[in-house]
Subunit: 471 residues, 2 copies
């Protein structure tokens, strides 16, 4: 260590003093600031160099089936396997996830949701009280601490939140409806984790819990949250089916699933061709072919469950003694609802339903980056266009501040435009802008691909700034 420290002291003579270091930084960092002024694709931590066969062999070592979103996310370097059902989320995935969380936060907060964050370690005591310590059997990941106290890693938090509410004493009706939610990592020891982020053992979930003093108010709140879920999927441009569903190990008296229709979906759904009725197959007799409401014909389809809502009534509040003051001055057990959205599952499911076999497509709102700029190949006839394209990049960054961190320059100019366009197509940036031959004309024109519509246009710098201002 002595040698290192000495050498280091020569490089940074007054390093131990933080204040003088911070002053030095003004000089020391300039290099990095300059270098980072444009977002360079060559510095992104993506596994663009992975080849299909190596990716497939990585996963098939485990004998897992793969689906389109899993294959595309592995190939694009968006996820990387760690252990069965557990993935490293790479930078593009983290960006998409943070954007999705913002979309969710917004809708949860419009209806009055307040964000909390509950521990992962859930005491066995609470789960035994609700009866789910036994019921959930091998799906729970369990452990004991150094003192022998038992915990599970929370797959959901009905016990925790109800105990928390009970610990607050009786809440006033003025605080109702109380809508608490969190976006945290959840755990489920799936017997067969598969399909990448669609069915993992670790995943991010948004779970909301609501509390009301009467069944009627609680049903109103239930509808409110369902509406917010519809808004979220509408905002993402995803077609969603809301179907009647079974309550399973969560319990309660009514439940709905939010399903994205997809062939890879693990849920069998029945839709009426005549009325609004739709339900998970588990809700009806397997040989039933007519709608229980209007007797219309039922058709079958498959879906990926991305959301699930439960009307719980007093199932948990009666166990944990969570009571509320009603506006009539009485005490009532809390009428509860719980509501889940699979955050990482929505990422994968939207890739599953929007992408082609070779190319990722994102809901625009959550694409990791909005625009990719591709300058001409180094040494090509169009090489001079590089400076024009970089100037365009800078114009966009300046004129459209909200896109400043949403644009990336594919500086791998040792590759042809065609090769880089293919990569851009695979990764699914909503807009790709190319500086080709026409950029060198008197009135520079750049090629603009809208990858979500498939449209291509040649536009001037001004027209591009106008177009992207709308994004």
């Amino acid at each position: 260590m002595g040698v290192l420290l000495r050498r280091w002291r020569i490089l940074f003579p007054d390093l131990t003093n933080c204040i003088s270091l911070c002053q030095k930084q003004q000089q020391g960092c300039r290099f990095y600031h300059e270098k980072q002024k444009r977002m360079l694709l060559s510095q992104h931590f993506l596994s663009m160099n992975l080849r299909e066969d190596s990716v497939i062999s990585q996963e098939s070592k485990r004998g897992e089936m793969t689906c389109k979103s899993q294959r595309l996310m592995l190939l694009g370097g968006l996820i990387c396997p760690a252990s069965p059902g557990c993935y490293h989320y790479m930078p593009y995935t983290v960006r998409a996830m943070e954007k999705l969380i913002k979309v969710i936060d917004r809708e949860m907060q419009i209806i009055g949701g307040q964000k909390v964050n509950m521990p992962t370690l859930c005491s066995a005591k609470l789960w035994k009280a609700s009866g789910r310590w036994e019921l959930m059997s091998k799906e729970l990941l369990r452990l004991a601490d150094r003192h022998g106290q038992e915990y599970c890693l929370g797959p959901t938090h009905e016990e925790a939140i109800t105990d928390l509410i009970a610990s607050q004493g009786c809440l006033s009706y003025r605080q109702l409806p109380l809508l608490l939610y969190q976006v945290t990592r959840k755990f489920r020891d799936e017997p067969k984790p598969r399909f990448g982020l669609l069915r993992g053992r670790e995943f991010y979930m948004k779970d909301m819990y609501t509390f009301d003093a009467s069944e009627e108010a609680a049903l109103h709140t239930y509808a409110l949250v369902c509406n917010a879920y519809c808004n979220i999927f509408n905002n993402l441009g995803l077609r969603i089916m809301k179907v009647q569903a079974a309550t399973g190990s969560i319990g309660g008296t009514m439940s709905h699933e939010f399903q994205l229709p997809a062939d890879i979906g693990e849920d069998q759904l029945m839709m009426c061709t005549n009325c609004d009725f739709s339900a998970n197959m588990e809700m009806i007799n397997s040989d039933q072919r007519h709608c229980p409401v209007c007797k219309g014909k039922l058709v079958e389809t498959k879906g990926i469950e991305v959301g699930h809502t439960f009307f719980l009534g007093t199932k948990y509040s009666s166990v944990f003694n969570a009571t509320l003051h009603t506006s009539q001055g009485k005490l009532a057990p809390a009428e509860m609802g719980c509501y889940g959205l699979g955050v990482t599952r929505i990422l994968a499911a939207s890739i599953e339903v929007l992408s082609t076999e070779d190319a990722i497509r994102w809901p625009s709102l959550i694409a990791p980056y909005q625009v990719c700029f591709i300058p001409p190949k180094r040494g090509s006839k169009e090489e001079k266009g590089a400076a024009l394209l970089e100037a365009l990049y800078d114009s966009v960054a300046e004129a459209v501040p909200h896109l400043k961190d949403e644009i990336v320059l594919d500086d791998r100019t040792h590759l042809t435009i065609g090769k880089r366009l293919k990569d851009a197509n695979k990764l699914g940036y909503p807009y790709v802008i190319i500086g080709g031959k026409k950029a060198l004309d008197d009135h520079s024109l750049f090629e603009v691909w809208n990858q979500n519509t498939g449209e291509t246009l040649f536009l001037t710098r001004e027209a591009i700034v106008d177009l992207l201002s709308e994004v």
Copy 2:
């Protein structure tokens, strides 16, 4: 369920059809939108009704010592105990934490950091390879899955990230320095969790890992990250000490701690009164009273460790075979650094060092809300001022858009202004604005408290908008 569903159908006749539901929502939600237009304190999920003795007894059941930040956070309803060393983070804490993460993200991204997210379940195989499966002994929380595979809950991710880098094949020198970081929940089975968020068993940490192809470049990167850490604490207005430290179970050849001086701190630090030298006591002989650099006098102080940096060299890269291409076309084992910031610990530590015994003070940048408006008591002589204060609230929300979600109206008008000011003082909003007697004068004046400086001013609506525009 039949009864419920029928009743529910009467309330929301076409609920199963999501699209018509979404249309209905425009009406259904209006009530909530109106109601939520102003942020009402009475609807915040805070435990303002908790009394000191009940809080203390909640914690002392466990025989834990309490410190100022723990007591204030419990009393203010910012945290709520779940199990030893595990807390529910309540809405104000989540808001502060999300702001802190933004501050950290910004500085990490300025130096080129890319955000990833690694699994909590860390395979025993990797930890056995590094030798830490044994070394960390009881501090690791361990479990086996349904197939008997062993894991620990990641307290830190050197093994995981180095294995991830190795799995990418040899990275090019063009991608270097590679700086990857995450902000995730970490686990450590502390023998004695205590002091609330200062020493918990679950906590949020920002951990960064850097990769370079030479020792010299890696030392440069190390300095760069240390500088970014200084910037973060400077931005928060926290006085930080950077001290030489031992490398402990992480390993490596050089290490620094970032310490906030505080009496409650568990680290003993030695500072030279003459030069820049400062070190954790563990780095020098316990009877040493003179600086090893200049022989100046050493003085002792205590600190809360909020950050820790390690120069790892090739300790992990050689185990996991993580190699890089140098610019000379050779292969070299990655020279690594790792860098931690205790996210939830910084929240508690800043409360610890900035607050009085009775009143929380936040670094302004991360205060959960920036402004609290207190209208007069219902039925008081000043009651008419309520409308003026509400108009002021609306003016601020409109004229200062970035404060729109940062202001809260204390609508508990059954309480006196004095009682609510006391609560506002306890919770530490940087600004408190009161509509008292002078609001009814011809030229309405409102009382403005700057709680961080202790300053009080009477200002007009225009002057307040100007003042808050700077926040």
